[in-house]
Amino acid sequence: MGSIRIIKKSCTPSFQRWSNNKNRILDFGYEMQKLLKWISQSGNVGLRVLWLILHLAIAIWYFLLGVVQSVESFLIATDILKRYEALDISKVRYLAVVIHSEEARHLSKVFELLQWLADIGVKSVCLYDAEGVLKKNKEVIAERFSNAKLPEGAAVNGPLVTCRNLTMEFVSFADGKEAVVKAANYLFVKHYANGIKEKLQFTEPQMGEALGAIGSGGAEPDLLLIYGPTRCHLGFPAWRLRYTEIVHMGPLKSMSYGSLVKAIFKYTMVHQNYGS
């Protein structure tokens, strides 16, 4: 009985008008939603396009900068630009070179770089690549660099190799964080293992000594040259990087003698306050 009354009521003209209006409102709302979605998608597309244009402009800028740098390094290498001739190499006591591991596999480029460094007068260089490619090939590099089989005169002292007046140290990612951990274990065994009760306070010299004891105690470089796609030191041992000037040279495949000279020259002109 009740249900027949409800059905009768729903067939009245006013209810139908209300129902039609409701449908129109729903349709309108749906259309609005579609329109807003379209606007936001176009907005997103618009933003994406702007972003791509921005990055394209930057890529063009870097390309032009690269062209200018190539011309400048050509002028330096051919002695046309005289201002870099007064390079005082003695100010660079220890030079480090970080090479992107993929590029480090091109050993011919590495030999060329070492040759240039020797020509400029660098006496000690630290070669770093994260994966240890250079470390694995250190005998090959040393032999090729000295142009002969390693003579008895050439000292292969752990990570150090000396030939033709250039001492080379080969370092990898394992000499960074892993070395600090080994030093921590060394310090634990030295100071805590025999049950000393007093409160100890480790100092930085003790840490340095521990790193030396486990074989990762190299000197701190004055200047670090990065040959790779980005300006990032890729995990060079943190303990040795305190006040090192870091310069990005670009990829190894586009290295040039002129830019190397310019980078070293600019370093020799820098004055450090060391915080004071």
């Binding site: 990612f173 964080k177 310090l187 995990g235 305190r242 004071s276």
Partner: protein, 290 residues
């Protein structure tokens, strides 16, 4: 009357500036945005000298530049910002200079935790990294108050490096690892279990028998609570890290604009973010392998 018009005009410019910034940030946000940016605020004294200002004025302009940069970073959506406020090496400066810098730092910390400050506006939690025992008591207490006052903020994080050097951080972490291991060993011994201290091999389940590993050291770093920085920006064109975040910067982009710190502005942040986006895939790849 004139002052009111002046205020309204400056409000309008501020509003326009903020609108333009939001527009540029929405374009930048199409690409990856750095999660963590670190600043080495170098060049305050040289800026004061260049502008013939009084000695302390450079630091005050520097603080203004800092507030602006923090605002821009948090608007862009950078979650963590670290600043190198005072190095252990800076204690070597003249005592009067150290004293006045410390007073400025204390005053600014107190400003930061006030109700209406930017820190509460953006929901920023403050941490202080460094050997805080080297600071004078009032500064240390102000720092502790700031950490407690902002502990409830969850939207972003500001890490202030005070009396900090990376080498000190590493030594401190190593010290804590050794002490933790000694305590574990003592606990085992007091339970009557035999133990070979010098033996490196051991059951993986028994943490105390194994040697200290990289993750142990990283857990005890001052900056353990946050991810490694994506970009480190050092002003005044200097290209060294000066003992800042050396451990954490293995896969971090280094950017050195040649302006002094008080001159840093919005465009430098935009350039740093664009540089980060250009190198993003390479850096992400490197950090996966390390």
């Amino acid at each position: 009357m004139e002052k009111r018009i002046g205020d309204q005009v400056s409000n309008l410019f501020e509003y326009l500036g903020s609108f333009l910034r939001k527009g540029i940030f929405s374009v930048l946000s199409v690409g990856p945005v750095p999660d963590h940016i670190a600043f080495i605020m170098d060049g305050n004294r040289r800026y004061a000298k260049k502008r013939n200002l009084l000695e302390g004025a450079g630091h005050r302009f520097g603080f203004l530049a800092l507030t602006n940069m923090l605002r821009y970073c948090y608007e862009l959506g950078v979650k963590y910002v670290t600043i190198y406020a005072f190095s252990i090496d800076n204690f070597k400066r003249r005592p009067e200079e150290v004293q006045s810098t410390m007073q400025l730092i204390q005053a600014k910390i107190e400003d930061l935790i006030r109700e209406e400050s930017m820190v509460n506006q953006y929901g920023v939690r403050i941490y202080f990294l460094g050997n805080l025992k080297l600071l004078s008591k009032p500064v240390r207490l102000a720092a502790e108050r700031a950490m407690v006052a902002t502990a409830g903020n969850t939207k972003a994080v500001l890490l202030i490096c005070l009396a900090y050097t990376s080498t000190d951080e590493i030594v401190h972490a190593v010290q804590e690892c050794c002490e933790e291991k000694r305590d574990r060993v003592r606990a085992l011994e007091s339970n009557g279990e035999g133990y070979g201290l010098t033996s490196p091999r051991g059951n993986k389940k028994d943490k105390s028998k194994r040697t200290i590993v990289v993750s142990d050291v990283e857990e005890h770093m001052y900056a353990a609570a946050v991810p490694d920085p994506d970009v480190i920006i050092r002003t005044s064109g200097e290209t060294r890290l000066s003992n800042f975040l050396l451990w954490q910067s293995a896969n971090c982009l280094l950017y050195s604009p040649s302006i002094f710190w008080p001159e840093i502005g919005f465009r430098h942040l935009v350039w740093a973010v664009l540089d980060f986006q250009r190198n993003f895939s390479y850096l992400k790849d490197k950090s996966k392998h390390s």
